[in-house]
């Protein structure tokens, strides 16, 4: 019974990684860009949501907001910051140097954004964790002796629905086709008349939305937010993305769930001190033995959607 409980716990934990892993795979799959601001966007939604629900809009413009509205505004904040990142890393560098797919410079720039935003939040709100007063995070249902937390279950369902929607959008919509064309060859896409200047921000908007949503669901599920809450989740989501296969949305889903499973089973059998070794060891093994990942594409290191 304990083992089954741990399996369910693993699935729930994995669902936290899934959304962030999908955000990573989206930017790497389309833009060949490992966007380091993703953990910050995740954190920002949670912290902004908390601040608005605890204090309200700054400068006394409002009292504390209801938690759903506060989290919605947190998600909006994540999207806005993501678009700012696009403007000052990706677009700026493309305009200046002509090749934004040279990923080293945007990568370093996004790392800079991560540190700047994280430290601004630390200065503004301190470093301690904050209790998020959302819905009752303790609501559980007992299925044959196995406890399932309802908010986590709802989060998992929301995550899966969003991923399905995203996959459909990529396959069927005009924007999705444009994004896939850019993923294949940005220069050819330009020649074919796809306006990359207008379409690339869509990737960042989706990234901001996914991360914001993940941060909001985290706040609801764990009832707590902190300025550093994105760090470990971001790292594990990268591991999940690589294990699942670079550039594959369903690979990110599978990889995220695998990381959750690996993590909690390691805690169960060996203790928390070995988690990092097992998760990153698994990633190295996958990279060596099966470089494209579980559901990845053939072009190693250049996942294409």
């Amino acid at each position: 019974m304990l083992f089954l409980q741990q399996l369910v716990n693993s699935l729930m934990l994995g669902s936290v990684y899934v959304t962030v892993a999908v955000a990573f795979t989206l930017t790497i799959g389309i833009l060949n860009f490992l966007n380091f601001t993703i953990p910050t966007l995740f954190m920002l939604a949670g912290m902004v949501g908390w601040a608005l629900s605890y204090w309200g809009i700054p400068f006394g413009l409002s009292g504390p907001l209801p938690w759903p509205l506060a989290l919605a505004m947190g998600i909006v904040a994540a999207i806005v910051v993501s678009l700012i990142v696009e403007r000052f890393t990706f677009r700026y560098l493309k305009t200046k140097y002509g090749d934004s797919t040279e990923h080293a410079i945007p990568l370093v720039s996004s790392l800079g954004f991560l540190l700047i935003v994280e430290n601004l939040v630390r200065i503004g709100y301190g470093t301690e964790a904050r209790r998020f007063e959302g819905p009752d995070a303790n609501m559980t249902m007992d299925v044959g002796g196995i406890l399932i937390r309802i908010p986590q279950l709802v989060s998992l369902i929301i995550t899966i629905l969003i991923v399905i929607g995203l996959v459909q959008m990529m396959k069927r919509s005009r924007i999705g086709r444009g994004l896939r064309a850019i993923a294949e060859n940005p220069d050819a896409a330009n020649i074919l008349g796809i306006d990359t200047k207008r379409i690339v921000p869509v990737v960042f908007m989706l990234t901001g939305m996914l991360c914001g949503l993940a941060g909001a669901l985290f706040a609801v599920n764990y009832g707590e937010v902190a300025p550093m809450m994105g760090e470990d989740i971001g790292a594990k989501a990268i591991a999940g993305m690589v294990i699942g296969g670079l550039g594959s949305i369903w690979g990110a889903v599978l990889g995220g769930l695998c990381v959750g499973l690996l993590e909690l089973m390691t805690v169960h059998f060996f203790g928390a001190d070995t988690v990092q070794i097992v998760v990153w060891g698994a990633l190295l093994i996958v990279l060596i033995a099966y470089p494209k990942g579980l559901l990845g594409h053939h072009s190693i290191g250049k996942g294409k959607l």
């Binding site: 409980q5 964790a129 993590e263 928390a272 001190d273």
Partner: protein
């Protein structure tokens, strides 16, 4: 990382006097603080406590007729910076004594520099046992984890709380929590006749404790002993609650911060911990607590009450005042080494009364302080039991 305090002080002093401010017109005290980095939230409030003490002393005429000039250095929570701070304060700023650093990790490094620099150093929150052993210049107005946790267990026993079985959860990659979780707690629990499982580690970055808690719930112990900072204790308590655990959570000084009342929420009800400061002990203790909460709020730091680290920082400044008065410290730069040594010598056999306790003595180089077992009851910080300070004899 020297703050603007020195400049502000100099400006204020210049306005208040007609002549130039000479070095010997003030008594220089260093403060190694944490105003940034991962310990910012727990460490920064100590700045408030130190500033209140300095302001009170200066407003009352200073020490030996001279105001304190405070030199503050922020370590950014980095122990290496604590060593740099000690050297900067001692060599460049030529302070007479150093208040701080804040944490055990920083103190572990900086106390060695104090020995080389031959300057009195008084860490304000360090509670890891043994850090001042063999030191001449390092002294602490703090109480160690072992003693305080032992007092908590004794109080539980005295009140007849169930304590046959326990589980230990600790943060494995944090110095004090690791030491408490793997050494102190198991030893003290065994001594108290409690059957305890293997300590269960969590890591600093762990946010999901469902796997650890599932195992705890399976063994269903009478209580769970937690060695962790408030945010980790909070995550654990929340998860224990979610998985239906009905026993108590206990902890030592590590998460004895009044702000846990908000952080833990209703799930924290019944939690027991030990604090080294009780605001209602004396009128002065209450006055400090009220002034501290108000001043912290004015600086944008939300505090429900003073942590014992804050009270210790406040009392440490007054301890330095007592030393300087006894030694007749002048602040004359030509007598710097001599006056520094007089302060260190003054620590031998000293007795000090402050907001923490009256007639505090030092066993070795660590103070003997009382312990207050706190219970979170009806959402309030209530006194469950009290243990007087041990004798130094």
């Amino acid at each position: 990382m020297i703050s603007g305090k020195r400049i502000l002080f100099a400006a204020a002093a210049a306005l208040a006097t007609t002549g130039p401010v000479l070095a010997q017109d003030t008594l220089k005290i260093g403060h190694i603080s944490v105003s940034s980095g991962f310990l910012k939230s727990v460490g920064e409030p100590s700045n408030v406590a130190v500033d209140i003490a300095v302001q009170e002393i200066n407003e009352a005429g200073g020490i030996n007729g001279k105001p304190i000039e405070l030199f503050r250095y922020d370590t950014g929570s980095d122990p290496k910076q604590a060593a740099v701070a000690a050297r900067t304060l001692a060599k460049d700023d030529e302070v007479l004594a150093i208040v701080g650093p804040f944490s055990s990790g920083e103190a572990n490094v900086a106390l060695n520099d104090a020995e080389r620099l031959k300057v009195l150093m008084l860490p304000t929150s360090s509670s890891a046992p043994g850090l001042t052993d063999g030191k001449t210049y390092g002294w602490r107005l703090t109480e160690d984890e072992k003693k305080q946790f032992g007092r908590l267990l004794a109080a539980m026993k005295e009140k007849g709380l169930p304590m046959e079985t326990a589980e230990i959860v600790y943060v494995s990659d944090e110095v004090v929590a690791n030491g408490a979780g793997t050494k102190l707690y198991p030893a003290l629990l065994a001594e108290a006749g409690v059957e305890v499982g293997d300590p269960i580690p969590v890591q600093w970055k762990t946010f999901d404790m469902s796997a650890q808690v599932a195992k705890i719930v399976q063994s269903n112990p009478d209580f769970v002993a937690v060695a962790a900072l408030p945010e980790h204790a909070s995550k654990l308590i929340a998860e224990l609650n979610r998985q239906g655990y009905e026993g108590r959570v206990i902890g030592s000084q590590i998460f004895a911060d009044p702000n846990v009342l908000e952080l833990f929420g209703p799930e924290g009800e019944g939690t027991l911990l030990v604090a080294g400061f009780w605001k209602g002990r004396t009128e002065a203790s209450q006055k400090f607590n009220d002034a501290f909460v108000a001043e912290a709020e004015a600086r944008g730091i939300h505090k429900l009450g003073a942590h014992h680290s804050d009270a210790q920082a406040y009392d440490t400044v007054y301890l330095v005042k007592q030393l300087m008065e006894a030694a007749g410290t002048t602040g004359d730069p030509d007598k710097l080494e001599e006056e520094r040594q007089a302060l260190v010598d003054g620590m031998e056999g000293i007795r000090f009364s402050g907001i923490l306790a009256d007639d505090i003595c030092f066993d070795g180089h660590d103070a003997e302080l009382p312990g207050y077992v706190i219970e979170i009851k009806d959402g309030e910080w209530t006194k469950f039991a009290e243990a007087p300070a041990d004798s130094c004899e």
